[in-house]
Symmetry: C3
Subunit: 206 residues, 3 copies
């Protein structure tokens, strides 16, 4: 199941990357690169961080074609996408959670300790969006918006707890996925957010 | 031949990095770091992505000295460089193509699949400039200007096609290099560019 | 000794990261991530660059908890921190130097050549701050301010010279640390800085 959601998710992430590139008036190539990085960048950073070589997408060229095609196709359909805004938020939420569970599994396979497993899940979930924002020269949105990274963390912890409790992997994935999705969609709907920290120094200069 | 072009290319790239640092009023050290990253950053990202350890420049200290010296020397000669603008565009084009061919060869040696080989070539060609722009806090230029990354892609594909056709490596390198250079210089001269994608949403907020 | 200074240093760096996040109005999670990256990002980049897997902090979860806690605690005490500005500059200077010496040792253990050892030390010392600034969408401060990266370079070179002269590691660490700290604090006190390079082109466009 996770693999289908993953494919939907990288498509949705690629389209979100393409739109961000469009806001910076990038050319065809820029759109393709940002789409690719948004969709597959999180897993790439995770693999490089964990020393998990070869990096996953280098062994699966179809993912490369899919994300680049989705990015370029977005240029044609962008005008209709605002109407589909809510639909995309749901795809994006599914992607966040699928990425998180996949990332945890990669770190588990490499025998990393629990906090690293959680961070590997979160890295997979959110770093694509962070790379997209760095490439587009804006402050990463995932660090400022309503519950997003936190959902990734909750899903990773839940998944590990259920695993320790001996829940079978299929049921664990299903439960973690559904609860995570419910949490993320609730956060969007009721605009839940974490407290923010605002600091305006007079002279701190480091 | 490629090695001489490579040395000219990293020098030219280091100088372009130094000028970008100068526009941000960086100090001596900032100039040296940006020069180094612009010249050798593309290959570094490629090596880290492919798991090609040790990273190339760590085994060739002269490249480190050369790029840092070129960056610092640029501070002295910057005032004369505007007159040499066209000359530098040619060096930069030569660098782009030499980097691309070298990057393809690294990935081929590690037995990566064709699309990854093309991406390794392009990463080597363009990521130095992307790192330079990220460090200088501006939107990467290579994603917005006239044919640049596309030239890198065309060269990588041409090089691989000729290789499959059994063309000897020397002739292949020469042909790919000359056609790539002609394409890039034509793009500059006639201002060829890819279509750009402009997107100004009202409410898309992800 | 170095390990205690290291622990103080990552705490101080995490707090500096949290303050930078606060200036961008980030949420709890953003603060935690930037704190973590500022404190441990330099060592992470070094390990990824040198192929030193597994990355150090993945084997030491307490460092993860410490930096994230320090970042979050900063949100509570930020209002008092401006008064402690000078105290923090001293902690930050200690961190810069401890990071540098630790980074050199990692590269030495992996048998890298001297210039790479120096660069590994500097990467550990300054890249946390660079990542913090990239994530907060500002031009890296370490490339523009008074002697900072240069202190890291001087410490790395001094440490290697004393090592070649056969000085025992304990004494070497102590001497390098004290001289480095004196240099950095002098640079802050007397506002020593490197010459900067300002370049305002009319038409250079690469």
């Amino acid at each position: 199941m996770l693999i289908y959601i993953y494919i939907i998710a990288i498509t949705a992430e690629a389209m979100s990357g393409a739109l961000a590139a469009g806001r910076r008036n990038m050319d065809l190539f820029g759109v393709a690169l940002i789409a690719f990085l948004t969709a597959l960048g999180g897993g790439t950073v995770r693999d490089m961080l964990l020393g998990n070589y070869p990096v996953t997408w280098t062994q699966h060229p179809p993912y490369i074609y899919l994300t680049i095609s989705a990015g370029l196709a977005t240029m044609l359909v962008a005008r209709f996408m605002q109407k589909l805004h809510r639909f995309f938020l749901i795809l994006d939420a599914m992607g966040l959670i699928a990425f998180t569970i996949i990332g945890c599994n990669v770190a588990l396979r490499l025998d990393y300790q629990t906090p690293v497993v959680i961070m590997a899940g979160m890295t997979t979930g959110i770093f694509g969006g962070i790379l997209r924002d760095i490439m587009c020269n804006r402050t990463p949105q995932v660090l400022r918006h309503e519950l997003y990274a936190s959902v990734s963390m909750v899903v990773a912890i839940l998944y590990l707890v259920l695993m320790r409790l001996g829940v079978s992997d299929d049921i664990n994935t299903l439960v973690s996925f559904c609860l995570g999705l419910a949490l993320r969609l609730s956060a969007i709907y009721w605009k839940w957010s974490l407290p923010t920290f605002s600091y305006s120094p007079n002279r701190w200069e480091d």
